[in-house]
Symmetry: C2
Subunit: 337 residues, 2 copies
């Protein structure tokens, strides 16, 4: 009888132990590795989200090279289901989440620049564990419900699509603008083509360029840029490489605008005189409006399904990262739960 | 009798030879040296200007390091007197001159972007001999008459002052903006202080900073910038050094604006992620309106006399360049004729 009771207590504790654990991918400053971790506990105002799908972004690949000196669980593109939330109606909902968590009280927050709050944490990028885990926490205010018309495989594109939606606003694009997209701007290209008639994507993967062409957007091999020096009113730099900005300065017309998107761990020595001589404007652009992105996905105005290169199970996360690094990959996701 | 005639012919030819010659400072790709050259002949639409004073600009110092791969007579800041001109009323006038000579027919010229014409020449910088000579040629349309209230020593500042006048336009500065000027922005500081209440100049020469303070503009040693990280709405970069842009990115507030002025021969490896993360705007700015600059000089609204460090005779041009390179020098000029 006593032995049975002891076994029951041990079983109960083991169950409790395992119920509060989760599997995750962790970056220790040197390499990524799979870990078993205690599930995150929500702080005041935060919801707990069980992650369904998490997308691997080029920022994650840069983090694995040391970008932002981040250590912890990376990942910031996700779709999940709310497990607990201070906002009752969210519990059980499918959600995506804005990645910046501001203090809400500093002068930047008060000026409406919460995304730039100096003491913010950023999901899977800075000071906050991210989406390559079974569970994550975010303030309930950061979450957006996903309409039923939008599948998990579409919704996982919300964060990068929101960032793409910001580009036309920042660059002041109109229908007559000539626009070049440098690099893997498959979402940017579609959003920009809705605003401007003349959009050209320059890429290095023939397979990717063929897909972009199917969206009705002109695409060319990056080796052809020499023929287009100073030809574009707006150049959107999404190369994910330090070489991208000097290449954009070559392509943009005098008094034109470059939208800089790439955040890289690397450095490149180059001469910036061209920016002054041609009186170019460079606009850094990072995040964008989730509402607008979800509307585009709901109305199927942006096609993302063809951009989902592969979905891996958690056990195959190493293959997933390897696949994401391949030149021809668009978006590789990991099914977290 | 015959001998006298021969002597007279020789004398006449010698006179004609010397009358068509001028002294100038030439850059051969390696070094500056004094030369005797044939006076420039005006092309269609061009005036001939006898140069009174020519200012040494940091661009000239960069040209002497190989910037723009220019060879010829440098110098683009000048005040002179018109010797001949297709516009009759200009002959005998004191003039300053816009430095870009466009084709007038290409698509950029037709769009009003003549200063960016791809086939333009630029006085003393690209494809056209400049102002470190007794005579120069420029299209009559490039010349601006100098009001009698403006002395030669003031008028020689017109070109850099015009460039400074462009900065508030490009950066969208208003009276509430907090503005930093990095480097030798003694003209920019004065122009900006007319638009914004809060202007701070960061420099490396105590003597220069003291002069700037006398204009009623706050000035600080560049070593103090660490205390002002992300504090300025607008940062104007006039350091003349490749280190200037990364330093400006450190100082500007998220969503703030950097006006980039420096054109250098050098390169610097740095990480541009800060531009994206803080969604900073960088605006290259090169030339500005001569009319506005002459108006400011005429009304004595910008004080330039204290910025004239020294005037050298042509014979002492080497000392002039040496003096211009000194950290504490504002503007060093050469009297050309």
């Amino acid at each position: 009888m006593k032995a049975r009771k002891i076994a029951s207590v041990i079983g109960c504790r083991l169950r409790r132990f395992y119920c509060t654990r989760m599997q995750a991918i962790h970056f220790n400053g040197n390499e990524l590795h799979a870990v078993s971790r205690r599930r995150p506990r929500p702080r005041r105002g935060e919801a707990v989200v069980r992650v369904n799908l998490a997308g691997i972004c080029s920022t994650d690949l840069e983090i694995a090279k040391g970008y932002m000196e981040f250590t912890g669980i990376p990942g910031h593109e996700f779709i999940g289901t709310v497990v607990s939330s201070p906002v009752e109606r969210l519990v059980g909902s499918r959600v995506v989440g804005e990645i910046n968590v501001p203090c809400g009280t500093c002068s930047l927050c008060r000026r409406g620049l919460e995304k730039h709050c100096a003491s913010r944490s950023v999901l899977g990028i800075s000071g906050r564990d991210g989406a390559f885990a079974e569970y994550l926490t975010l303030p309930a205010a950061n979450l957006h419900e996903v309409p039923p018309e939008v599948s998990d495989e579409e919704a996982v594109f919300t964060e990068p699509l929101a960032a793409a939606c910001e580009i036309p606003e920042r660059a002041g694009i109109d229908s007559g603008s000539t626009v070049a997209v440098l690099g893997d701007g498959r979402l940017a290209a579609q959003v920009l083509a809705m605003k401007a008639r003349n959009v050209t994507v320059f890429g290095i993967s023939a397979a990717k360029l063929a897909v972009i062409r199917k969206f009705g957007v002109c695409s060319r091999d990056a080796s052809e840029t020499a023929r287009f020096v100073k030809r574009f009113d707006v150049v959107v730099e999404c190369t994910g490489s330090p070489e991208g900005l000097p290449a954009a300065v070559e392509l943009v017309t005098p008094r034109g605008t470059i939208v800089l998107k790439s955040t890289c761990a690397g450095k490149l020595a180059w001469n910036t005189a061209g920016i002054v001589i041609d009186e170019v404007t460079i606009v850094g652009s990072r995040c964008g409006p989730f509402d607008a992105a979800l509307r585009l996905l709901e109305r199927k105005e942006v096609k993302v399904r063809k951009l989902l290169t592969a979905v891996y199970t958690f056990e195959k996360w190493r293959e997933a990262f390897k696949h994401a690094r391949r030149r021809e990959s668009f978006k590789v996701c990991i099914r977290m739960s």
